[in-house]
Symmetry: D2
Subunit: 282 residues, 4 copies
């Protein structure tokens, strides 16, 4: 049985679902709204158990997932949601061995996931032009022990990226179309381009410009996460849900001459909504 | 500029969107419905370009993403969808350094993603009781050069898993409730449990049993992927979409005594659909 | 140009989107959080204009739609949503000339829509066993001038409905399966049965019982309404939405012997999620 | 018990879910792929029963709902879906007593619903400029016995509508923004304007123009219908669904001077996706 160690990052969760991220350190304590817990009562003990504060209130002791880390990161800007991040990692082929650029750093939700996914077996570059935002992101990384897995860059991406031949590039700025030459220059041939945009007007603008700057195989998708009340006898979707985070736009860097046909999506061709075909689904 | 190398896995995509996975090997050729392409015309050349078959038909040459690999895997059973897989990896905290069990192997879509995510910096165990299914999965892995990253096990999980203290376990069988003692035994304290189930009756059954076998913090979610026609001037969702792949169920392994309160979801609490709150959204 | 008349029901909407329902009456005034408006300033004037309160604050003067009336009805219980009500009316074939039963009355959202749809050219019976709830519904009807279009019944439906050969029956109670003989007795042959249920467990229970009591052609559907920010230059879905109101269950009353095959859905057959078919939609 | 009468429109449904619309007439027969059924075996008999063809194959005999009529209408163009039509009727306040314009007629799905909803207690005007399309719509109406409830107009709406002071107007053309002066002229003050548009670019164009032509209180919504397999023991959404039919745009006709604030939506205000608010829904 693995036990909690000095230096481990763990979660303490109260019955009213408040979450406390704690880096374990002998001799210290965590203050909660429901009393104090000594780190020494956690170190050397198994995870997945219930502990009590000095007020006798119960807390669950759990290791965090990447999902938890993203949720609990300190925020300066709108954070990306795990549903989008998990899909992006597959789409942009992020895993050990790849080199990937993120522009901009923002609150660092995606950066945390990139750092976790690559873990130093590859390279993660995160560009941000505002020092204050970068500072919060750096602190988030440090707290999670992930700072050695990301190279933080304080730079306006209008000046271009310092890297070349990167495998994937994700851009999360208001006007990604303004930086397509820089993105194209940084990516390797066939490299993965991704963007997230809140409005459909932005999506139209980006789609219009991508082919002009040497990208093809564009796709647009969105993900909806529907949470359920996890009660066996009264199973039902939650009353409310997050209805929109952003549209995901994907494309591939092309080199040389490309026929216009390639500018349409590679996957996701649609079919005519012919009557016979639609009929069963009314 | 990175160039295609002998032994690389690449995609050739025709204008009618047929996808050919090719492992490059000097002196060989790939046969398509639109003519033949010599591997020697690809080796040493950049990716992200257009090539022509001997019939003069255009093909796009691209490196595959994990997303592409899952899509193109040979199938014996229903395959998991990338939208679900990407989210699972974050939820179950799969990344370099972890040990994870998958039961069963099936067509191997998730297995490919697990292998890519861990890449030997950790351990992936995939259990399957049918030799024929395992054989196809093994061939898929081998073709992708990922076989060294996964330990394939031919075993009925009713007999238990061979590992202990694994960080995460994902089960994709018809009756996961039948194997909860085995799952609990294999996981480390606080470890991540995940399942995917097509019917809501199965979800209710599993939710009912999880607390009896030492699991808590259950959550149920589903993901909907909505693809769009990626045409700037006529942006719209596709006419049709995959409406259901499966419900995702998550829980954590507990050790020791746990109060009943923890059996309800940690996240995702719902609010009363009070009038004032709902009003704006009609 | 139609003008507002004494006795008309109109809406006054403030800039901060508070909605005031007003029945126009000479010599009276409406008090709002932004000042007073004299009915005499509205009577004889066109609708669709802007008026000012005595404090100089702007209000929009609009006639209400059925949609508005449902939204603004006083509530004793959870109200049905317009998205579900509109669909139900088509599904249950409610229009002038039909006789329809509603059980129970509840807050009266559906009842208002039934009254509007039939307008006395047909019959609407609304059953409720709690007098206090019926009283609020009655007041809602009276305020809207719709009371003559609905027969309110104060009765436990376990005792049966007073009508026979009705064209459609909608039941909105916690346990509709408990009243299927009564529903069957009230409906005409081939008549339309509908129910709304919040949990999937209830849906399973109802589906299980419907064929035992002489119903067939069952269908289950749900409707999701996604609102958008209606701003031309920044079009996007709202951040949040109502994720669940209820599952809609439909069936038809059968008479005589029916083969078991008819108990499965008439419409909405599903197809095998065959690979070739699903591929485009990942 | 109501029985089928000479002249009634009924549905015959085979076990393989083929639907035959039949107007009953003594002495005639209906030919199906599974044998012949004599009308005389249906006339004077109850609905909701099973009959057999001369080949001994079973058919269900049911009265149609408006929903069925729309589904089974002969089509010349893309038809509107019942999910959208039901909601529109509530939104545009269509019921006995109103005067409503539809432009254009198209395949007549909405027209059938308007005719059913008003049934001569009010007026329905349906404009179409193509005679061939109007002819099919007219035949659909006649077959359903609804022709006396709709005034079909063969006219280009660019020339304006013949009516004034109508309560509601629904426009289903490619470029509704081109006809806003005509729509405004036809509607009464505060009257209901609705449109359906397949692409988001069209929605942006229309939203941009509506305020210029005297409309306010714009709203944009879309409805998703999710069908389920109606099997109690294996409840699940269908594998596939119709993902998009169209965006619904609503507005109200204004008269006189209107402040700019009213051009934003009356309902459906959004909230900041503040962290505390969103947190539970990840």
């Amino acid at each position: 049985m693995a036990v909690a160690q000095q230096g481990d990052l763990i979660l303490l969760i109260s019955k009213d679902r408040k979450v406390f991220q704690v880096v374990l350190k002998t001799g210290t304590r965590v203050q909660t709204h429901q009393g104090t817990i000594m780190h020494d009562d956690l170190i050397g003990q198994p995870l997945g158990r219930m502990v009590q504060s000095h007020l006798g209130r119960d807390f669950l002791v759990l290791p965090p997932s990447t999902h938890d880390l993203i949720r609990e990161a300190e925020r300066t800007t709108q954070i990306m949601f795990p549903k989008d991040i998990g899909y992006l990692l597959l789409r942009l082929n992020v895993h050990p061995g790849v080199r990937v650029i993120e522009a901009g750093t923002g609150s660092g939700g995606l950066m945390i996931a990139l750092a976790q996914a690559v873990q130093g077996h590859g390279e993660v570059y995160s560009y941000e032009r505002r020092a204050d935002i970068q500072q919060v992101a750096r602190a988030n990384l440090a707290r999670l022990g992930l700072e050695r897995f990301v190279t933080l860059k304080l730079k306006d991406i209008a000046e271009g990226f310092d890297e070349a031949d990167v495998d994937a590039l994700f851009i999360d700025v208001r006007d990604p179309w303004s930086y397509l030459p820089q993105c194209h220059a940084a990516l390797t041939g066939g490299g993965f381009f991704g963007a997230i945009l809140p409005t459909i007007n932005q999506v139209a603008h980006l789609l219009d410009d991508l082919p002009r700057y040497g990208f093809a195989a564009m796709e647009v998708e969105e993900l909806l996460l529907r949470p359920y009340k996890a009660v066996a006898a009264r199973l039902r979707p939650m009353d409310r849900m997050v209805a929109h985070t952003g549209y995901l736009v994907f494309a591939r860097k092309m080199v040389g001459q490309i026929n216009e046909e390639w500018f349409v999506p590679v996957h996701g061709r649609d079919r005519a909504a012919a009557r016979g075909d639609m009929d069963d689904y009314w």
